[in-house]
């Protein structure tokens, strides 16, 4: 579990930097809570007119929002800041220092910066999921919870791989930050079940910008709409994207010349 130990080290570094500004924690908590309140408020308005939305019950969409915050929180906690740092490292040539360290460079690059206060989204997401699970009560079987956890893992790997693939493009192209920003704004579409969207958009959100697997698919498991085929697809895509990210990272670091260092 070297990876976890490393992650914890970076987490501690992030914490040491931020603990001087403790007020920021409450500010971030407030922001996350308002954001969550907005999402749940929108849900309340929509479900005041209908009891199911495209086959989804209110507590199932609430669970989806929980997943959205959980995954989004994890992304903003470590993946996004690290990738932004990576792009900067490549441009300025400071990636040299990372490549010389006796640890897998992709691992180091992926966790090099932790913005600890973003963890509020992560925990609020978990809280929402738990409340939603309790509301579902006995409708929920043990198998569904296992499917949910499995789908969440696959979704996490997919989104992570997708981010690092995008960020790795910076080895060849200088300005890729903009692509990352596009992904962040498209991620917002994951607040609602992608099964609602018309076909062209659903396919785009499933394969082009694979947010469906990160948010909708895990929630589908809880809603009892999960098929083994979907779960298999999720794992196949996760494996493929992870392999691709690995390949691209190797090719990228070979191509990298540390020009401006």
């Amino acid at each position: 579990m070297r990876f976890l130990r490393l992650f914890f080290v970076f987490f501690r570094i992030g914490a040491m930097g931020e603990l001087a500004y403790r007020a920021n924690f409450f500010l971030q908590l407030l922001e996350s809570a308002v954001d969550l309140g907005t999402a749940l408020g929108g849900l309340a308005v929509v479900f005041s007119y209908t009891s199911t939305l495209g086959g989804w019950r209110p507590e199932e969409v609430a669970a989806l929002i929980g997943v959205f915050f959980l995954v989004g929180g994890a992304l903003r906690l470590v993946v996004q800041p690290s990738m932004e740092q990576l792009i900067e490292n490549v441009r300025e040539g400071t990636l040299d220092f990372m490549l010389t360290k006796p640890e897998d460079s992709q691992v180091l690059a992926s966790i090099q910066r932790v913005e600890i206060w973003k963890i509020t989204d992560f925990f609020l997401g978990i809280a929402v999921i738990i409340v939603a699970l309790i509301r579902m009560g006995e409708r929920l079987g043990a198998l569904q919870v296992v499917e949910f956890a499995a789908a969440l893992v696959a979704g996490g790997v997919i989104v992570y791989s997708f981010w690092i693939i995008l960020a790795s493009l910076s080895f060849w192209f200088v300005r890729v930050e903009n692509i990352l920003v596009v992904f962040q704004s498209v991620y917002e579409a994951g607040r609602w079940p992608v099964t609602l969207y018309p076909g062209w958009l659903r396919i785009g959100l499933t394969f082009l910008v694979p947010i469906a697997f990160a948010t909708t698919v895990p929630a589908q498991a809880l809603a009892g709409q999960m098929t083994w085929q979907t779960l298999a697809e999720a794992f196949a895509l996760a494996a493929a994207l992870f392999a691709a990210s690995r390949f691209l990272w190797r090719a990228g670091t070979r191509h990298y010349s540390g020009a401006s260092a």
């Binding site: 500010l27 407030l30 922001e31 308002v34 954001d35 309140g37 907005t38 408020g41 929108g42 308005v45 929509v46 005041s48 007119y49 209908t50 009891s51 199911t52 939305l53 495209g54 300005r175 903009n178 920003v181 596009v182 704004s185 498209v186 917002e188 579409a189 607040r191 609602w192 609602l196 969207y197 018309p198 958009l201």
Partner: protein, 266 residues
């Protein structure tokens, strides 16, 4: 040199720099297209679940509502609240203060330039959504005629209100909380999330008393033919009142703010 020349020159400068750095402007456009699209899809699903009608909106009328909403958002957006947080905190506002002209003129030109540059993309998006979602849309002639002045007023009110709020950065460095609170209120109260008539009554009252309805929702309601002549006149009066009040506040807050400004980061 008159103010007209200043505007012309500023337009030339801003336009050239935006054409150079167009990527970030287009990214914001994607967000402005995506948001109404998401709510259009959600509300269409609600309409279908209820057999085709939610509070007087059919799926076709939802499509019309959110497509018009998208265009109205394009016409009225500003980013001054984010910009001033940065400018005041980093002290770069000092340069604007040295010029013999109020900085709001530059902001206005920047804003309009960015809209002109992104307009083609917006129109393409609107055309695509019309083809895909088949809106039912037949505005009364008088409403269509009144739409242009109402839209301009909506933009003026929004610009003045947000410019004034942006000045809160003179007094606090935690502007992001102010901004977030404002944008959440705007999401619900200006009709971006759902037509105002579908919200709980208390929120509808709040939307009409505060400037939010008059900044975005009102032009949309007008063009969709959901208002009669008298309601339209009341709306115009509300816009005029908020614009006047906003301008007074803007002057007062700006004068007080410049006095406390210390260019911390510069």
């Amino acid at each position: 040199m008159g103010i007209g020349d200043v505007y012309r020159q500023q337009f030339r400068t801003t336009f050239a720099s935006f054409v150079q750095y167009r990527a970030s402007i287009f990214i914001w456009t994607i967000e402005r297209i995506l948001e109404p699209l998401i709510y259009l899809v959600v509300w269409s699903a609600v309409a279908r679940a209820r057999g085709g009608d939610v509070g007087g909106f059919s799926t076709g009328q939802f499509a019309a509502y959110f497509i018009v909403m998208m265009l109205v958002t394009q016409a009225t957006y500003t980013w001054v609240m984010y910009e001033y947080e940065y400018k005041i905190r980093h002290g770069s506002l000092s340069f604007a203060l040295l010029r013999p002209i109020h900085p709001i003129h530059t902001d206005l030109v920047d804003n309009i330039s960015s809209k002109l540059i992104t307009l083609p993309l917006m129109l393409v998006a609107a055309a695509a959504l019309v083809l895909l979602f088949k809106p039912s849309f037949s505005p009364p002639l008088w409403a269509a005629a009144l739409f242009v002045p109402v839209l301009l007023m909506a933009f003026a009110v929004k610009f003045v209100v947000e410019w004034t709020l942006a000045l809160s950065a003179f007094w606090t460095t935690r502007v992001s909380a102010v901004n977030q609170g404002y944008f959440v209120a705007a999401l619900f109260l200006s009709g971006q999330m759902a037509p105002l008539s579908l919200l709980p009554h208390a929120l509808q009252v709040a939307a009409s008393l505060l400037p939010f309805r008059w900044m975005i929702s009102f032009p949309v309601e007008l063009l969709l033919g959901r208002l009669d002549m008298a309601q339209a006149m009341v709306g115009l009066a509300a816009q005029a009142a908020w614009l006047a009040l906003g301008l007074v506040l803007l002057r007062t807050v700006w004068r007080a703010g410049v006095r406390v400004y210390s260019a911390v980061g510069a």
